[in-house]
């Protein structure tokens, strides 16, 4: 029981740490769904009240705009651009990097995206 409580407490601390930590600027590297090539981008995560805003830049130009929340220790972001929309779910690593899986309508499998802090 004591171990269980300790685990619960640590999980709680970990999720708070993640919530506080995702704000920042990142270098992103990803793979499109279906093995349709890789890409590099820059990502900015900011906090806006209880929620997060996320921007993806490709070659210095804003490519996608996103809005995010924390749930169950996951950083969950919906994104959109004039070309379409989608969803990405990140888990945080101990070194502050984020490992994501994402998809857009029409895709039947998932892309990946890893964000490393600048």
């Amino acid at each position: 029981m004591r171990t269980l409580l300790l685990v619960a407490a640590l999980t709680l601390v970990a999720s708070f740490a993640l919530a506080a930590d995702v704000v920042g600027t990142y270098t992103g590297h990803g793979a499109n769904p279906g093995g349709a090539g890789g890409y590099d981008c820059d990502v900015v995560v900011a906090k806006n009240g209880d929620v997060y805003s996320v921007q993806w830049y490709f070659g210095g130009n804003l490519g996608y705009d996103g809005v995010g929340i924390m749930k169950n220790g996951l950083f969950c972001v919906g994104f959109a651009s004039p070309q379409g929309y989608g969803v990405v779910v990140y888990t945080a690593n101990a070194d502050g990097s984020l490992d994501g899986v994402w998809t857009m309508p029409g895709a039947t499998d998932l892309g990946t995206e890893t964000l490393k802090r600048k």
Partner: protein, 143 residues
Amino acid sequence: MRKLFACAAALAVLCAFMGCCKGIKDKVTKETKTLETTPGGGAVAGAIEGHYAAAGTNPDGSSYKCEVEIKKNGQAYPVAWYFDGKLAYEGTGILKGNTFVVGFINPQGYGVVAYDIKADGSLDGTWTGKGATTAGSEKLTKK
């Protein structure tokens, strides 16, 4: 301790008898089964498809009711929200452990909703939309 050795010995004999391939196959099957059963309350991944009645609160505190349909398309989940029988929002979702996360859009804007998958098959969601500084909630109950 003696029992453990006996078990190990029996296992070794069994393994040698059946061949290693069988053991590997069993392990893979077992791991797949573990993945299908979420640690929370036995909600099974892949069973979230269906029709739901939804009740929610907007980030501004007002409330709403709607109907939600979840489908599966490979590893992705198309989602549709109907208000008074009319399609209002479309989404695409990812299942991650016990959490179902959906990006949604309509001509007025877009957002994200993340649902906790409950043991009784209901989904407990938190969501926000572009421009909001707070989160809303949405509970889906299977029809």
